[in-house]
Symmetry: C2
Subunit: 131 residues, 2 copies
DNA sequence: ATAATAATAATAACTATTACTGGAATGGAG
DNA sequence: CTCCATTCCAGTAATAGTTATTATTATTAT
């Protein structure tokens, strides 16, 4: 069962995610892959995205609006959501893992990790607001 | 439009949320309010929850599974999600607002805030795991 | 008390996602 | 190489969570 058979569709999805630095939604990925494989189905995109997440080859980001975004960069890093253009960016920043310790200070259970993202205005939208 | 007409159903929802320290889903709230108003509809619950969120009287928590949870405690505080029992707890902890500064250090846009929650095992589930 | 207005119940619609189906391509055993 | 099982695919149906619509009822102002 760990033996995934090769599939060009899945490969194309992985390829696309590894080259884009957007954090596209399943639908956006679908639109894009369709240029190469015009009759791929949305179901196939979803199934393969989930397979790739299970394999740890990509990351699923749970966005505010309830829709999922996907990220080919599996290195631990933080995300930024622009309130204006709704884009998701990567943040280059120091680790904030110490907040787990802060959170666990007065907590009787076990803190295993945290999910954190930042929001505000992305560089581009910020410039437009200043005008 | 800021003048919301009184409604006992909305009042009951607010009342319920202010007294429970769970973080119930719309459906759970619906089940509960129905004991008092047996013919309230789920649509009414959703509409009033969103109204209350708009008014800033309650908070909407965007959970992992995509479903929304609601919290009558509008003071800023952090949440903990148990991976075992899936309950959401409040965390008593020091502020971690400084992570906004860390995040903004090398960022050209504007960081306005962050959404953070912690996960792991709640006190109860943690005990059971140790057995 | 009556008219105007806003809230409700019920239901339809919508979005994102997952599951199912029949059929085609792939990979290994012989 | 051929057979067979497996895994894949496209297409579609189904589901969950939520929001919008509509006809009806309740609340407020006159």
């Amino acid at each position: 069962m760990a033996t995934l058979k090769y599939s060009r569709q899945r490969e194309a999805i992985k390829e696309y995610l590894s080259h884009t630095h957007d954090h596209p939604s399943a639908d956006t990925i679908y639109m894009h892959i369709r240029q190469q494989y015009p009759n791929i189905s949305l179901g196939t995109v979803y199934r393969n995205l989930n397979l790739l997440v299970e394999q740890g080859e990509i990351i699923k980001i749970n966005c505010q609006d309830g829709s999922d975004r996907f990220d080919g960069n599996t290195d631990p890093h933080y995300h930024f959501l622009c309130k204006d253009c709704n884009n998701v960016l990567d943040l280059e920043m120091k680790s904030i893992d110490h907040i787990n310790v802060i959170a666990g200070a007065d907590f009787d259970g076990k803190i295993e990790g945290n999910v954190t993202f930042f929001y505000g205005l992305c560089p581009e939208c910020n410039r437009q607001h200043e005008v």
